[in-house]
Each structure stands twice: as C-alpha cells, then as structure tokens.
C-alpha cells in the first residue's frame, strides 16, 4: 500500500507512520456487540416515565381536511395529549424543507399524500397511543389526485401545492417544484457532430432502501435548561440539530443535543428532519416527559421516503469511429408530495450524468415534479442509478449501431489516468483514477468475450452479459455550505485512545477505518482505540454520513487529529530520551528511535508522564522545549475542509459538485427463463478505483451489499399505487426484498488503489458506488440475452414475460 502524504508540515510525520492496521482486515468495531445482541438501537432504550407517540396519518392521497375530532381519543385512559396542526402552529416555522419549503409538520387544511401526518397522540404506552389514534375522527373532502408526472404536467392537472411558490428563485408553476439545466460545449445542438444518434426513453422505479431498523427517536426536554436531548436513528446528528433549529421557533442549535444510538441502516432516508422528530421534541416539552416514537413497517413504507422515479428521454451522438460527441437529456423526476433531497438528486445526477466519459457537448434539462405520493429523498446512489440506467443502455445501443464492441466504445471514450488531474466537460475535478484498467479487469473477470452476443444454456435459458460504469461523487457542499469535519483524538494516562467524531455509524463501518488510521498514527494496538460518534454535546462539528464522505472527510480529520497527538507524544518522548523527536517512531505501543529501536519507552508510561506533567519526570518548565511548557495536552485536534468541492453554477449546471470521484465498472451475466420471465443473475464482477483501501473486508462488505440492494431494485422492487394514490404493497410480504436464496454470491471484486492525493491516506468514497451501475448492467445483460431492450424498472417477470411473448421467445 502506498502512502499519501498530507500537505505541509504533517508530511514528515506521515512518512514515519506505522502501517500495522491500515489496509488490514480488522474486525468491525461494533461487531462483537451486534453478534451478541448487545447493540443499543433507539427502540431498545427505555427512560423512566417515558411516553409514546403515535401518528394519525392521512388515508387519502389528496384531500381537504375539514375537521379533526380528537375528543374520543383524548378521553382514553393513559392518553396524555392529542395534537393537531393548530396545537403546534406557533412553535414551528412552516412550511419547511431541506431545499424547498414545502412540508408541514402536521397537515393544516390539506393532505397531499396517503400516510402524511395529521395528528399525533401521546400516551403511557405505545398500544394505548395507537388505539387512541384510531379513534381520532378526520373529516376529509376528497380532491383529485395526480400520481404520474404526465398527469401532473397537464394544463388542468390538480395542483399538489396550489398556494406554494416553493422555490421563489426558480420560475416554476403548476406542479413543477424546480427546474435546472446542465450546459456543456455546444449545448444548443449537442448532437451536431454525430454520425449516429441513438435515442430512447427510460423509466425508473420508486423504491425504498428499507433499512431493517425503522426510523425512530426519543426526545427528552429539560425544563430547567430549556434544552432537549434527541436520541435519533439518523445519519447526521450535527446537521439534524441545525435543521431542527430552523423549524422549531423556540430552539436554537445549542438547545438541541442530538445523540446517536446504534443505527440499523440508513441508506439515505435517515437524513431528512422528519415530522416525528419535530413532534417528539415539542411533545416532550409540553409534557415534560421523555417521548419516544418508532415507526412501524407500514409507516416506513408509506412515510419513510425512498428513491425518486425518473423519466429520462435521452439521445446520444457518436461518430462512426466510436467517439461520443454529445448527450441530450430531458430528466423528469416524480419527487412525490415534498421535494426533500429531490432537487439535489436531480441537479447532482445531471451534473454527473456524463459518467466516466469524455462528452464534449451536453444538454440536460431537469424538472422536479410534485405528485400525490410519498415524498422521495436521498437514497444510496443519489440519482446516479437512474441516469446510469439510461446512459449505459444508450452506450450499448450506440455501440451496436456502429458495429463496435460496447467495452471498446467505453474504453475509447474514457479519461486517461495520465491526463489527470483534469477538469471534466461538466466541470468535475478528476484525480488519479484508472478507469481503463477498471473496464479491462471487469471485462476479464466476467469473461465478456465468451458470453457477449447471447447464448442458450443447456437447460434452455437465454444467457447474456452487460456492463455499467461508475463515476460517483464523494462529498458535497450544498447540504451545509461547505464540506468539513472536525475530530478529536484523546489519550488517557494509560495510553488508551478515544476518537470523537461527528461521523455516524449506520453499519457502513467508517469508525473501524478511522480507528485503524488513528492506531497507526499513534502506534497503538487497535483494541486500545475507542470511538465516540455523533453526540452534539461531545463530538466536534461535522456533517455525518452521506455521499460517501465519511472516510474521505471525517477520516482525514481524524487522521490529522491523531497526527497532532502523535507530535505531542514524540516531543515528550524526545525530551525524556534526549533525542530529536523527528527521529522517533510510534509503533507497537512504544515510542522509539527509528534507527535504534532499543532506545525507546512504552507508550503507557509516556502517556502517564505526559498526563501528569510533573517536574520530577520532565524537569521544570524552563528546562523543557517550548511545546512542553504551559500544560501538555493529550488531546489532538484535526479538521478537514474540502478545498476542492464547488457549488455548481446555477446557469450552466457545471462545476466540481463533489470533493472526489470514484470510478469503476460492473458487469453482470444473466440467465433469462423463457418459460417464466424470471431473471437469474449468475455472475457479477466489479472493478473500482477506490484509492487506498483502509480495510478490505469492510470495502467488500459495502460492495456486496450495494450490488445486492441494486439487484433488488432492478429485479423486483417497486412502489405500486392505485389510481387514487394508495400504496398497494406497503409490507415486506407484498414488497419483495431480496433474500439469500434470490441473489448470487458476489466474490469477483477487484479494487484498484490509486490514491487520492488530497485525503489523509489516499482513500476515496466506497459505499454507494457499486449500486450505481447495477440496474443498467442488468438491463444490458438482458438485452444481450434476449434482444429485447427493457427501458423500465424493475425487470420483474410480469413485465419480462409478456415482452418475451411478443418477441416470440416465450416457451411454454
């Protein structure tokens, strides 16, 4: 593993860093608690005197709320309060929202999707709250519903938000929440130089990442301080306190302490500030008792948010020789009844829609459209799976059209590592990535040449291979105005280390990687390093986990903090051993002279001496070097602020939207059953350039999990609404999530380690990337097998079989 250096002063320190832990298959930090049942998720936490909240949710997708009669519910024994919008109106800034202000905490006079919060009951226990919620009588007047983008854009369409100008800076009307564009090169005629133009319209599906642990929180208000402690299953504790303070009129950021419990998966949908969190805070304040709310699975399906379906009308232009010259795309996003992160999903995926290719002329026109469906938001991949589903199919279509192999076409149009760092056509700063090898390795691992062109297996299945590619953002600054994290690494007198970080743990394992980096820098065994995560009273500021930023930004901050502490330890050891601190190395629990390992001391002794700072051991302050006077602190501080990430230009949509980018390719071999329309994924291979790998096991775990999540979305998952906007499959029984029997083992994983020169250890983002190309590669493989181009997700048997029938391929 090569070592990347921090800029400036820390370079020398890094050269000496031990590499005992980074790059190793260290067991996950939390794993022993999890396997033994001693995790502590929010629903596991009990507080004395705690109340339980339950929501009354709209039964209709679009209706006026004429009256809410809470009297019967209020009369129930054990019920403390029943609230409607009027009860909270003066305590919240409404409407609110992440980018557009289009949400109410509890519906005032209209509901815009089935599942929306109308009232909340708080009671001594959950069953009582739920039973009482059933007794709240809501009088509705039904309104016409729009559930598709086409309906929503019709001139006389019912309006989801008739009184709302959600984005005053954007000239939108009707059901259009937001519009944007990306303009690159000759954007007015991006296909002018093409010999061949291929066009197709693609429709992606609405899905939920369905973390196994539902959303939930406990709010505990302290009347003496006016502060509230919120333990919430969130991906971003610090940002949550910022965002909640913007909604709650009587709470400043300092009044809201967010604390992370263990979080049972997030995948993006645990980013938004949710009505249940806002209500729990206010209910705790009103009752002066702790209030818990944990969503049940039906609530997760109807109100837990998910991935936005998009319609992508795309045209790609190529020359006869296989140069991609232009891309022209209309992107329509069905964002649901509130945009949440939908606008960011739309603009960042259009900005990155060119993928890992050089495409000199592009024109993207994006529209985010309201409908009467559950709001959508951030989900692993953040819009890239949708645009990649289009782009990678257009590329394989174009390759066929000009008689070129689809991998060759990709290779010809990919950026070269030797040309980096470079600005891409849409303005990304690409650094040190080897996409050529990613493509070649993937082709080799999947046996592309053997499978390509389609074949029939001995048991009569139609076999084919297809590919998709990755150019995925790591980090972003529109969420918070900058992309940064701070970290503290502290040592006690016994030499035990604690890392304090705002990075959340949602299963992805960032803390394990951070502990490895810190252990190496301080030369301590990994089991002497603990992590405190996401407690806004205790951990320094940072933005949480999303956009693959944890290890890049949070990890780099922690590495810097460890360097500062290491410098102090070396200064103390140098003084005691009477050697130059620069000649010292920290490793194996000792500080010693690099060239003379016998000269050294144990770290726990060193920690004790430094902690006490007595003249008996260190001499008087006057006898010490400058840095050991005035108190020796065993607290290291580090901060990482991305200097690379930019705000995209609102006019052109161009700009370096992320800190860094992870490149890669993925290929899939499928067998399509001509009798049933079922698709069996028989092989998957992926090669990505993830920079230096901190922990190969954890990287593999992310890769495998992301691919299978992508396969579930591509093969079966979809929200099915009836004409009235009611969800038809809101349970795990009706919404099929992949099981161990459904999906292949994913073992063909190759990680290239071309380091990112800007991060502490050369690391790049990992967790979201492998999901991005999966639906595209699957559809391409099915085309190779059948000759049928599936342009809609999912590729479920009830769509595939009729198409096979029509093509004369069905066998009975």
């Amino acid at each position: 593993m090569s070592k990347q250096q921090q800029r400036g002063k820390q370079e020398t320190a890094s050269e000496d860093r031990s590499t005992e832990w980074v790059g190793e298959r260290v067991n996950s930090y939390d794993g022993s608690r999890f396997v033994s049942g001693h995790g502590r998720y929010v629903d596991d936490i009990q507080r004395p005197d705690m109340l339980h909240a339950y929501f009354v949710r709209s039964q209709f997708s679009h209706a006026k709320v004429l009256d809410v009669d809470t009297s019967e519910a209020e009369a129930q024994p054990g019920v403390e309060l029943v609230w409607t919008h009027d009860d909270i109106a003066d305590q919240v800034n409404e409407p609110f929202g992440y980018m557009l202000n289009d949400e109410e905490v509890l519906a005032s006079d209209r509901v815009t999707y089935a599942g929306q919060e109308i009232a909340v009951v708080v009671a001594d226990d959950r069953d009582t709250a739920q039973d009482a919620a059933d007794l709240v009588d809501v009088e509705y007047e039904r309104l016409d519903t729009v559930t598709t983008v086409e309906e929503a854009l019709e001139d006389d369409a019912p309006l989801v938000h008739p009184d709302l100008d959600a984005d005053p800076e954007n000239d939108t009307d009707g059901n259009v929440a937001w519009t944007g564009q990306v303009e690159v090169g000759n954007y007015e005629d991006p296909l002018a130089d093409a010999d061949v133009v291929v066009e197709e319209t693609f429709d992606t599906n609405k899905t939920t990442p369905a973390p196994m642990e539902p959303h939930g929180c406990i709010a505990d208000y302290n009347p003496a301080t006016g502060k509230v402690e919120l333990v919430s299953s969130t991906q971003m504790p610090h940002l949550l306190s910022v965002e909640l303070s913007e909604v709650l009129t009587e709470f400043e950021q300092r009044d809201i302490t967010c604390k992370l419990p263990d979080v049972g998966g997030g995948f993006g949908i645990k980013l938004d500030p949710y009505p249940f969190e806002i209500c729990s805070v206010l209910l705790s304040k009103a009752t002066q008792r702790p209030v818990k709310h944990v969503l049940d699975r039906l609530e997760e399906f109807t109100a837990g948010r998910g991935r936005a379906p998009e319609t992508l009308e795309g045209k790609i232009g190529v020359t006869e020789d296989g140069d991609i010259v232009g891309l022209d795309v209309d992107l329509l996003q069905n964002t649901g009844a509130a945009a949440a992160y939908g606008v960011a999903v739309a603009y960042s995926s259009a900005n990155c829609g060119q993928g890992p290719y050089l495409i000199p002329n592009q024109h993207w026109r994006t529209k985010v459209v309201y409908t009467n469906e559950m709001p959508t938001t951030a989900v692993r991949g953040f819009g890239d799976p949708q645009v990649t589903f289009m782009r990678e199919q257009l590329i394989e279509m174009a390759a066929e059209e000009i008689g070129m192999d689809a991998v060759e076409l990709r290779l010809q149009n990919s950026p070269r590592q030797e040309d980096m760092p470079m600005r891409s056509d849409a303005g990304h700063i690409w650094r040190n990535a080897d996409q050529i090898t990613c493509l070649e390795k993937t082709r080799e691992m999947i046996n592309w040449d053997e499978h390509r062109g389609g074949s029939k297996t001995r048991d009569g299945k139609l076999r084919g291979v297809g590919m998709g590619t990755i150019m995925k953002r790591g980090g972003n600054k529109s969420a918070s105005g900058g992309d940064f994290d701070e970290a503290v690494v502290k040592m006690n007198r016994h030499g035990d280390v604690t890392v304090l970080t705002a990075i959340a743990s949602i299963g992805q394992g960032t803390e394990t990687g951070i502990n490895q980096m810190v252990a190496d820098t301080l030369g301590v065994p990994i089991d002497r390093v603990d992590a405190v995560r996401g407690d806004t009273d205790a951990t320094p500021e940072g933005l949480g986990v999303w956009a693959d930023r944890g290890t890049i930004i949070g990890g780099s901050a922690a590495a810097r903090a460890a360097e500062e502490l290491a410098d102090t330890l070396k200064a103390v050891a140098g003084h005691m051993l009477e050697v130059d601190p620069d000649d010292l190395r920290l490793e194996g629990g000792r500080a010693f002279v690099a060239d003379d390992p016998e000269t050294g001391m144990e770290l726990d002794e060193l920690a004790n001496v430094a902690m006490l700072g007595n003249p008996e051991t260190l001499g008087t302050e006057a006898e010490r070097p400058e840095e050991l006077r005035g108190g020796i602190s065993l607290v290291g501080r580090g901060k990482y602020q991305s200097q690379e990430v930019e705000f995209v230009d609102p006019e052109t949509g161009r700009g370096n939207v992320a800190h860094s980018y992870t490149f890669g390719a993925l290929a899939i071999v499928v067998d399509v059953d001509p009798g049933t329309g079922e698709i069996d994924v028989v092989d998957v291979a992926i090669c990505e350039d993830v920079g230096n790998v901190i922990n190969p096991t954890l990287v593999e775990g992310q890769v495998q999990g992301a691919i299978i999540q992508g396969l579930g979305e591509a093969l079966y998952e979809e929200y099915v609404y009836d004409r009235n906007g009611n969800l038809m499959n809101g349970s795990m029984i009706d919404y099929h999530l992949p099981t161990a029997a459904d999906v292949p083992l994913v073992t063909k994983i190759e990680e290239l380690e071309n380091p990112d020169p800007t991060t502490s250890h050369g690391q790049k983002g990992v967790g979201e990337c492998p999901l991005v190309p999966t639906p595209a590669a699957l559809a391409n493989a099915v085309y190779d097998a059948t000759g049928i181009r599936f342009t809609e997700l999912p590729l479920a048997p009830h769509y595939v079989l009729p198409a096979l029938d029509e093509a004369g391929l069905r066998e009975i």
């Binding site: 067991n27 996950s28 939390d30 794993g31 022993s32 608690r33 999890f34 396997v35 033994s36 049942g37 001693h38 995790g39 502590r40 998720y41 629903d43 596991d44 009990q46 990442p209 369905a210 973390p211 196994m212 642990e213 539902p214 263990d262 979080v263 049972g264 998966g265 995948f267 049940d296 699975r297 949602i506 299963g507 992805q508 394992g509 096991t697 954890l698 593999e700 775990g701 495998q704 999990g705 992301a706 691919i707 299978i708 999540q709 349970s731 795990m732 029984i733 999530l737 992949p738 099981t739 161990a740 029997a741 999906v743 083992l745 994913v746 073992t747």
Partner: protein, 167 residues
C-alpha cells in the same frame, strides 16, 4: 391457555429463558417479542416488520427457530427459550457469533441476532451445510446491508470451526 382467553386477561408464563427459570404474568395478547423486549429487557431480539417476514425477531423455542413477533408469550409456557443473549458463554462468543464477527457477516447489526439464532439451529441439524442449504435455510431472514455473501461465509466458517471438518 385456553382459546377463550381474551387478549387483555392476564396469563402467567413460566419458561426457561437463556437457562434461567422465569415466571411472569402478562396480558394474554402479549407477543413473545414484546415479552422478551419489554418484560425481560432482552432487546437483542429485534423488530423489523412484525409480520413474520424479516426474521429479525428470531429466537429458539425448544431449539427450533421461531419468529417471536408471530407467537404469543403464553405459547412458550413450559418451553425453553434461547435468545441471542443466551448463546455466548460469559465473554466467550458462541462460535456462530464469533464467525459472524470475524467474517463481517454483520454490518448495522439489526438483522444479526435473527440470523445468528437461526444459524445455530441450522448447524445443530446439519453440521456441514452446502451453500444451497444455507441459502434456503435463511430465506426467512432479511438483511439489507451485507448482500448475504459474507453471511453465507460466516455460516461456513462457523460450521468448519464447530465440527472441524471444513466446508
């Protein structure tokens, strides 16, 4: 309990829970998952769906894996119940737990207790299962994080460690 019992009536449940005799009087409608979590404070048994689909609430009743959201506490009267907390021997993890940790068969950990208990039952019956047998045994447990590859590897590793003959 008789089939006439109303959910609000109270019933006494006597069970051997993780090796200890337990007697509790609870409303007759109490689910086993709620009994374990709310009355015995064994919160390792998780709730993911409460519709007998996800397997996060799997426990062993007389050695057989059952979904505790789909069973009344009263139904384990007289039975032996083992939850994920009852598998370890003091600080020593059960070999299945250790293998899930070592092979990274657990990421967020929410599904893990259900998988671990179910796998303990599998290896009891079939000490050397094939990949296909592991897969089909685990269809009642959903994991959203791992994609299952490392779960299957964890099971194989546990099997190898427990009977020492590999695969």
């Amino acid at each position: 309990m008789s089939t006439e019992t109303k959910p609000s009536e109270r019933v006494t449940v006597e069970t051997t829970l993780n090796g200890t005799e337990v007697e509790q009087t609870v409303p007759a409608g109490t689910l086993l998952s709620a009994f374990l979590r709310n009355h015995e404070y064994l919160t390792g048994t998780h709730r993911g769906c409460e519709t007998a689909k996800c397997g996060a609430c799997t426990v062993l009743v007389d050695g057989d894996p059952v979904k505790s959201c789909n069973m009344l506490a009263a139904q384990v009267d007289g039975a032996t119940v083992t939850t994920v907390e009852g598998l370890a021997d003091g600080e020593d993890l059960h070999p299945v737990q250790q293998a899930f940790w070592d092979c990274h068969g657990s990421q967020c950990g929410y599904c893990t207790p259900g998988f671990v208990t179910n796998v303990v039952a599998l290896l009891e019956d079939n000490p050397d299962p094939s990949v296909e047998e592991i897969r089909s045994h685990l269809t009642g447990n959903i994991c959203r994080c791992t994609g299952y590859t490392k779960i299957i590897e964890s099971v194989q590793e546990a099997a190898a460690r427990m009977d020492g003959d590999g695969k």
